[in-house]
Symmetry: none
Subunit: 415 residues, 2 copies
Amino acid sequence: MQVEIITIGDEILIGQIIDTNSAWIAQQLNAIGIHVKQVSSVADYPADIIVALTLASGRADVVLVTGGLGPTKDDVTKQTLAAYFDCGLRRDAKVLAHVESIFARSARPMLEINRRQADVLDKCDVLFNEMGTAPGMWVSHKGKTYIIMPGVPFEMKHIMLERVIPRLKQFEDRKPLWHHTILTGGIGESYLAEKIADIEAALPHHIHLAYLPKPGIVRLRLSATGGDLNALKAETTTIVQQIKQRIGIHFLAGEDTSLEQLIRDFMQQRGLLLATAESCTGGNIAKLITALPGSSSMFEGSAVTYSNAMKMKLLDVKQETLDSHGAVSEQTVREMALGAQRNFKVDYAIAVSGIAGPDGGTPEKPVGLVWIAVAGKTQVAAHGYLFGHDRAINIDRSSMAALFMLWQILNAEHK
Amino acid sequence: MQVEIITIGDEILIGQIIDTNSAWIAQQLNAIGIHVKQVSSVADYPADIIVALTLASGRADVVLVTGGLGPTKDDVTKQTLAAYFDCGLRRDAKVLAHVESIFARSARPMLEINRRQADVLDKCDVLFNEMGTAPGMWVSHKGKTYIIMPGVPFEMKHIMLERVIPRLKQFEDRKPLWHHTILTGGIGESYLAEKIADIEAALPHHIHLAYLPKPGIVRLRLSATGGDLNALKAETTTIVQQIKQRIGIHFLAGEDTSLEQLIRDFMQQRGLLLATAESCTGGNIAKLITALPGSSSMFEGSAVTYSNAMKMKLLDVKQETLDSHGAVSEQTVREMALGAQRNFKVDYAIAVSGIAGPDGGTPEKPVGLVWIAVAGKTQVAAHGYLFGHDRAINIDRSSMAALFMLWQILNAEHK
């Protein structure tokens, strides 16, 4: 079964809002084995809407439409839909009572524009919307199914979960579809692809591998279709194991999680404490960890020491180390990590110092040079990296490289 | 001139990523008077890509394509494009040298898969990509213009800003369109709308006002179309002045900037130094400031003190203060701010302590309670806030509220 999504509204086309609805809808449909073939965003113009409906219904069995049903836009979209489906509009008594009850509660005056929210296509099944005034509509037309919903995300989600998904589940010809995501770290997309080239080449035709890179992290997604769902799960699990064996420490998890979540769980379970000493990452590592609920059980804090004076005061970095090696050096990050470990009284400490750019580089220490140290129970590991010229990406890559170094040491010290 | 955007990649269609590129591209195009007619997201299948290109070029003069150009996807998309444009691929020497220099720098081995990144459509103008290995391509074909870019957001943005926008600006038939953005802070969207309701109601038909809220910050965008560009600029400038007078301190800037940039510039120009003492924001304020180039000239660092022990050690918070008032209290944040100001030897210090959630609340101190203090030259201001239940939003709102308090005091102390 093929599905397409059409979003109606100028907001997306002028870049005022980002279309988060389509991704959410696609996830929900994927979870029940329905594949989205295309997403189209069109403006609130009748001709554009009709062309989009015509093309989408030519390619797909089911067309989901969101947007264009708010009180100020009501007329264009609904009239256009009525023309497309060659039907009229009727005022639905149950929806009208619901709209009236909403206005009665809010004590706002109810206008004719609001009453028109209760007008629905006369050949539709109403998809009742408890969360707002614009109902959804389910239309069967010339052998195709159209599902029309408001664009407000929480209203759309409510209608999808309560009305649409249960009904789509009854369609017989859903194709089993299974996704298995792998999180990898400390290895670039190309190098990873080379390492598993033979595994990828040997994939059967019904299993597809996708690379989803972010700075410092690559997700791999296996998508399997056809046949029996349990067979697909077994097949992808075998492939995940092959990849795991092949890439070793770079295999972080056989699920869609994050490196900071893995570290939080690992340290929380073992009662280990972490602190960070951050210069060029400027608190970003602390921010990533503290974004996670429950991180206070394993995270003591961070010394964000942008100045040399603070590196000495908070982390006991020696004046002579800074004088002879500079702030961006192996010696300095080692002292920062040990200082953080001692002063914060933690088991593990991360230290980062680098030149994030765009300025501040020298021939010996160019923009993108970053030193990272991790103090563990039995060792202090330190490593120098040469990233690129973009400040934001250097901060992201430094943060992920530091977390990956910590992850390696955590695993080595807790076998 | 009509433009369409096509995004290529399964990731969007299975809901794994949200398409943020299209909104960003649409914003950039709008700013130079170019209207986006439709956005289509299609899978990495040759037939789908070719149909999308055919349909889009039938409706629009310019087709922007993003995605499908990473090293592991290279073959499908580029071969499909070559078929569509009825041309071959050639290995571009300049791009190859660039790819090689990236690999030389990183000391990773360069593979054939990486070399293939330098293969471009032989009838294209290369849109050089300093930020990555996949170049963009500009193709003129049967009277239409095609602009093909990688989907990685920072690479696409770089190519758009450096190569595509300047060239599109030379197209003659753009419609005069003028956007003027205002940054406001410390005031919610509804309250702001109420304050300027009469100004909004009096706007002429060709000027549209949009609210673009983020946690703690609302941008207002005036969009004016038609007639003469200089007349549009004069009209919007008058309206901006009306809004500025009306909302006073909540008017941060008559341009699209950020509060942290305003603070960096203000402090840099006056030689003032800042430090932060962060508990529930976990380093997020430091991260926001250090994300800005040049912030090292005004930012000394941050003590991210998640534990009480660290609040005492790094910020000299008194044991008795924590015992009698708790970590989330006016007294504690005042001591944190003064401790940071003293220990970091700075002119201004921000302190934040709160319960970000989702757990950790009590009847007296519920989730969402956040205390913020700012130590200035002549005063320590402190204020308690009650935000919501979402951890990420609480961290964002706390950060922006703290920066807004700092902004107010900076302005009050430097009249």
